[in-house]
């Protein structure tokens, strides 16, 4: 294969107020023609900086190029003139950004935006450009392209916008596309569509793709080769199968082990301890050593070189040195342990559900005659001590449900009972406070869920202050809570911005625990965190649940994580729960077409499986069109397994069951 792009010893630093941040430290890799190279890493590992360097897009005022070359087509991208680089940008190498909502100019029609780079880089003019734009839109799967090219970005959905961004990137038939987390902002089923689109375009046009992501599932689906970055370095690089099945670096092993495997039941997830190092002062030796349980003495003294494992596979860890002890990789260790354990199903008091929702509706008025039916008649119970997962795509009403339960919105109709009491009955101040002590919430965004002007101690103590606990009892309580969530008491005098995302989420949990609640509503508590941190937080939540007998409503869009943590799962679609069952049951025998599509769209961290898997496509329009919504009801098709089906669908289901086809 032909080398298209060569990166040699690239080091990039940023000049910040606090000093020099060494974002990328001496990395080298090649990109071959027609391949997809995935760069994986946690936030701050330098993957985006690397990709931006390829087009020299890093801010010039603060960026310091320490060393290195990026060779493309005889040019060194880092030293060529501004004119040369402009000729390369867009025409030869183009970029797809993360957020399709901000990547398009809202005041320009999409046709004009796509035409911009065609005008700049080709000799096409007038009608030819329009034809080319329409052709591109058809290529990325936008129907009625000849009409829609005159529309503005707000007239398209998120997934459609990302398609348009891709069309813009493809406009001048580039040879390399850099995709910087192109699907992170999208729902799983749309993510699957976009990934498939990128793959088919790659084959048609013989493109090379550099795919930057933190999601190992996406990597398994997309990549031919994988580079794993940690603390500004490539610590392992190899073919996708080599990385997923024979990884050598303990960090890669840890990352893979931290993903919940839907086929194995475990009590705790493997979690890499600690947090990534601060690149203001990169550690001496192996940057990962302080988080590595099997660190060798040399790891703290000298940086490991890249050891060659096979022709295509390299890893930077001293464990590959001939003198190093041989250890069993973490994920294999885990697999052995997990085979032995078998979880006994938990028993819940089903007579007296702790939380019970009956036909709850939450409608928002959108001005004249327009109503947003965010939650449209949902009914479910959560038993004491249970973890109930609520999944669905963005806009399905899952977060609204959580907020209605805790009383942030007054519900439109229906009944919510907590511990047997209707929450809308108790109107006195005292009752409300008592309710607030019982039900607490953990929020999604660890950056906006803590007041930036309050110290950690004050944030945790807020609940104590509101509930009138005497001031002299606060301090021991704050220290105790910090200890419970795995932090030291030194954190009490810090401000939130001094903490990492995972640490902030721990503070959010401590704040909720301060009032000793019984039910915790966790609204996407891990979706904003890095993979290695996600496992830490999930383990913490699970541990707390066991120790304190808490009940959780766990809201998320990540089905594999929900499956791992929950006892039962409800799947929400358009404001309704369409399927509700024990998590294993739901995973093994999904019935509703939406659930099945959702399950098949989750990318799994297993490249072989990903190659064989066929995605079930859920076509919303045909589903809605052929349906008699009047006759739908929540039918118990198996003990504890409810599905929202119309009579017709139920008949079909029964027929299929009799015919021996397991749906």
């Amino acid at each position: 294969m032909k080398k298209l792009l060569q990166v040699k010893n690239l080091s990039v630093s940023f000049n910040t107020y606090n000093g020099e941040v060494q974002a990328v430290r001496n990395i080298s890799f090649d990109l071959f023609e027609g391949e997809t190279l995935a760069i994986v890493g946690e936030s701050g590992s330098g993957k985006s900086v690397t990709s931006k360097s390829l087009l020299r897009l890093n801010p010039t005022e603060t960026t310091m190029l320490k060393s290195g070359h990026i060779l493309y087509n005889g040019h060194d991208i880092l030293t060529c003139s501004e004119q040369e680089i402009r000729a390369i940008r867009g025409a030869e190498i183009s970029m797809i950004f993360q957020d399709p909502m901000t990547a398009l100019n809202p005041t320009m029609t999409i046709g004009k935006q796509i035409a911009e780079s065609i005008k700049k880089h080709t000799t096409l003019r007038g009608q030819q450009i329009t034809n080319r734009v329409i052709e591109l839109l058809q290529l990325v799967g936008i129907k009625e392209a000849d009409k829609r090219y005159k529309q503005y970005p707000h007239q398209f959905s998120g997934g459609m916008r990302q398609r348009i961004v891709i069309a813009m990137a493809l406009a001048c038939e580039p040879r390399i596309i850099i995709a910087d987390e192109p699907t992170t902002a999208l729902d799983v089923s749309i993510q699957a569509q976009i990934l498939e689109l990128l793959k088919s375009i790659q084959q048609k046009m013989n493109l090379s793709i550099i795919f930057i992501t933190h999601d190992l599932g996406v990597v398994a689906k997309m990549a031919d080769r994988v580079a794993v970055m940690y603390a500004g370095k490539i610590i392992e690089i190899g073919l996708v199968d080599e990385i997923f099945y024979h990884c050598q670096h303990p960090y890669t092993q840890g990352l893979l082990a931290a993903m919940p495997n839907p086929d194995i039941d475990t009590d705790t997830l493997y979690a890499i301890p600690g947090t990534p190092p601060n690149l203001l002062h990169p550690p001496i030796g192996d940057a990962f050593a302080s988080r590595n349980q099997h660190a060798l003495k040399i790891d703290f003294k000298e940086e490991p070189p890249l050891f060659q494992v096979s022709d295509t596979h390299f890893a930077a860890t001293w464990l590959l040195h001939e003198l190093a002890p041989k250890i069993v990789p973490i994920h294999q260790q885990l697999a052995q342990v997990q085979q032995e354990k078998h979880k006994a199903p938990a028993v819940f008091d089903k007579e007296h559900p702790y939380l019970s929702l009956k036909e709850v509706k939450q409608h928002f008025s959108l001005g004249k005659n327009a109503v947003n039916k965010a939650v449209d008649g949902i009914t479910f119970d959560i038993y004491k001590g249970e973890i109930f997962g609520l999944v669905g795509e963005s806009g399905c009403g899952k977060s609204t449900t959580g907020r209605s339960i805790i009383g942030l919105n007054a519900i439109t109709s229906g009944e919510i009972r907590v511990d047997g009491r209707n929450i809308n009955d108790n109107q006195t101040k005292k009752d409300k406070l008592a309710f607030n002590r019982k039900v607490q919430m953990i929020f999604q965004d660890p950056y906006s869920s803590l007041n930036p002007r309050m110290k950690i101690a004050d944030i945790i103590a807020e609940g104590l202050a509101i509930h009138g606990i005497p001031k002299n009892e606060w301090k021991p309580k704050i220290y105790e809570l910090l200890n419970i969530v795995g932090l030291t008491k030194e954190y009490a005098n810090r401000y939130p911005h001094e903490l990492s995302g995972g640490q902030r989420q721990r503070i959010g949990i401590a704040r909720a625990l301060a009032v000793e609640p019984e039910l915790i509503i966790a609204d996407e508590p891990i979706s904003a965190l890095d993979v290695s941190i996600q496992a830490q937080i999930v383990n913490l939540l699970k541990k707390l649940q066991k120790e304190r007998g808490l009940t959780y409503l766990f809201i998320a869009h990540d089905l594999s994580m929900v499956k791992y943590i929950s006892d039962r799962i409800g799947v929400m679609y358009r404001g309704k729960i369409v399927e509700l069952a024990d998590s294993q049951e739901l995973y093994d025998h999904p019935v509703h077409p939406y659930t099945r599509a959702l399950l098949s769209a989750i990318p799994l961290p297993d490249p072989k499986l990903e190659r064989e898997r066929n995605r079930i496509i859920f076509n919303e329009a045909t589903y809605q069109a052929n349906r008699n919504n009047e006759s739908e009801s929540f039918i118990e098709i198996r003990p504890g397994h409810f599905v929202m089906l119309t009579e017709e669908e139920f008949d079909q289901y029964q027929l299929a069951q009799e015919g021996g086809i397991l749906l």
Partner: protein, 336 residues
Amino acid sequence: MTTKNYSKELFEYAQQADITDDITYRPEQSFWQDAWRGLRKNKAAIVGLCTIIIVILLAIFGPFMNSHGYDEQNIARTNLPPKIPVLENIPFLGLNGVDSRGVDQYEAKGITEYFWFGTDELGRDLWTRVWQGTRISLYIAFLAATIDLIIGVAYGAVSAFYGGRTDNIMQRIIEVLVGIPGLIVNILLILILKPGIISITIAMVIVGWISMARIVRAQILKLKSYEYVLASRTLGASNQRLIWKHLIPNTLGPIIVATTFTIPGAIFTEALLSFIGLGLQPPTASLGTIVNDSYKLLRIYPHGMIVSSIVISLIMISFNLLGDGLRDAFDPKTRK
């Protein structure tokens, strides 16, 4: 791959030291102590603060530092240039009582006293008048800024926090007020009330708080859907707590910036009103009236204009410097 030889011991397992947090103990300090620490590190802000303190001290004690009264007229000593002991010996400073035509006015008029800032066309001592004027200007500015701050913050916070119909009505009221030109409101008001310190302050406040209210409203509208506010609500916090503990502190930055603009703005408005004759009436001095009196003589006797302008500029610059510093000091993110 590597030819370098490593000793065997290096490949033994390292002792896992206890998870070392890179976090060190930090003494407990209140919010205000933290803010003061942050402010002290900002040199520009400290310079601004010191200048303001000096100007305030001079405004209080300056008029008593010589024996001349601010309204003491004497036709025999009109338009004297500044003359300061000791400094008069350094010719290029121009503080030796020689005017722009090269005539030593003190000698010509036979005056042995020293007038540090010179005198105006009625022979009044400018030193006394400038500081007397600064006192009144600052008084008006502080009064107007404080009232703006209180009304603006309260109005904006209530409007944004309660939202819905309350917000709608309150914003319509603001729009009506904005629709009338401020100067006309001022002029009408001063025509009804007698020109004076209080009526000028009232005239400025009547429309002055609107920009503050709008800034606060915009901030709080944004902040109130933040998750930390929701978190506090789920803990059972009262509206009062939400406003005072979460919303206002996070609006402090824009509030401080707006206030530091209000103070020099008020000094200017007062100067403008005095300039068109609706402000303070003679013989009362303010920085505005001094500028007004001396601009006519700018070509021949520039000292009156120069001195009063320098004082106005000093006040403005130092308030801006201090405001910047305060904004940073109250924001933990910019503190080191």
